[in-house]
Symmetry: C2
Subunit: 200 residues, 2 copies
């Protein structure tokens, strides 16, 4: 009989959970969402399939949890309010650009976005669980800017979010140009100022 | 020996060419780009594989020609210059919304965009053959607006194109909200005016 202490079961669970989430992200980047399987994730994570099914009902829900974990790091920046709208927007968009240029994020997020494009059910789930909560955080920041007199009162906040965050997502997904921090800053400045000539 | 006149060979060629392009678009909407094959297109178009290979070296080039044919209808609107920048932009964006909401366009274009997301070579080809020429037409119109004093002199025209056209593409691809003519008009007005409060 061993005299060594048994590992703490809750710590062991947390280790397995993290291994599964990491394996799911690695694997979806490698094989794509369509070919992602619970079996494959279990094998890569070194756990049994039943361990995964105990915590997640499907690969979709599992993958979302993995993405929510990834996205979690960005939330603080999305919420920051230093009182300077342009600076706060540039901070979060530069962080987004950095994330999207990082292969650890790029590959699994590309797989998810690819699936969203032709799977309306997944798109609805993504909208509800990830896009809409994030969008609300962004709109909260824009509302604060309206109160501070830094954003026009009558701007449609959904259109504002689309103008500020959409070009980054687009350039990343469609690879229409280099995705740089400078591009992110120019998008913020241009959206805030508008395309029309300044009044003389 | 038949006394009927033989069909005009050039007209027969044109009929076959159109049947092939239509079959390619129908089939890619049905099975996706990955499963699209020259064999399948030939069968659907009622022609031999060799007929297709005589005109197109690969399914990618064939599909691009089919898309260029689709996109052709929109070019006139992209170029129109009535002297009113906002009106011209709304016209082309409303036409784009209508096109993207039409299942005949939606399905094959979604298939192409899905492939672009995870195929850098296809993205480069798309950029060169479709996105960049269209982008130049858009920038030509914006340059004319600069000369007419309707667009700020120092605006980055690529960023301007992204702000005006990107939100439509995004909302369509990611299904983040209803894609309506009103949305298109709000994007144009907001991008032109900017998000900042108007000077008093």
């Amino acid at each position: 009989m061993s005299t060594k202490a048994l590992p703490d079961p809750s710590r062991r669970s947390e280790t397995a959970r993290r291994a599964i989430l990491t394996a799911a992200l690695d694997l979806v980047a490698e094989v794509g969402y369509a070919k992602l399987s619970i079996e494959g994730i279990a094998k890569a994570a070194g756990v049994g399939k039943q361990t995964i099914y105990r915590w997640w009902p499907s690969k979709g829900v599992l993958l979302f949890d993995a993405f929510l974990g990834l996205a979690g790091d960005g939330d603080a920046a999305a919420l920051s309010d230093t009182g300077d709208l342009a600076a706060d927007l540039k901070l979060v968009l530069r962080a987004t650009v950095e994330e999207l240029n990082d292969p650890r994020f790029d590959l699994p997020m590309r797989a998810l976005h690819t699936e969203i494009v032709h799977d309306p059910a997944l798109a609805a789930d993504y909208a509800k669980r990830l896009d809409e909560p994030m969008r609300e955080l962004k709109k909260d920041r824009l509302r604060a800017a309206q109160r501070a007199g830094q954003l026009a009162e009558d701007v449609d906040l959904d259109v504002a979010v689309d103008l500020l965050f959409g070009p980054i997502l687009n350039r990343w997904l469609q690879r229409t140009g280099p995705l740089t921090p400078e591009y992110a800053e120019r998008v913020v400045d241009t959206a805030l100022r508008g395309l029309r000539p300044r009044e003389p």
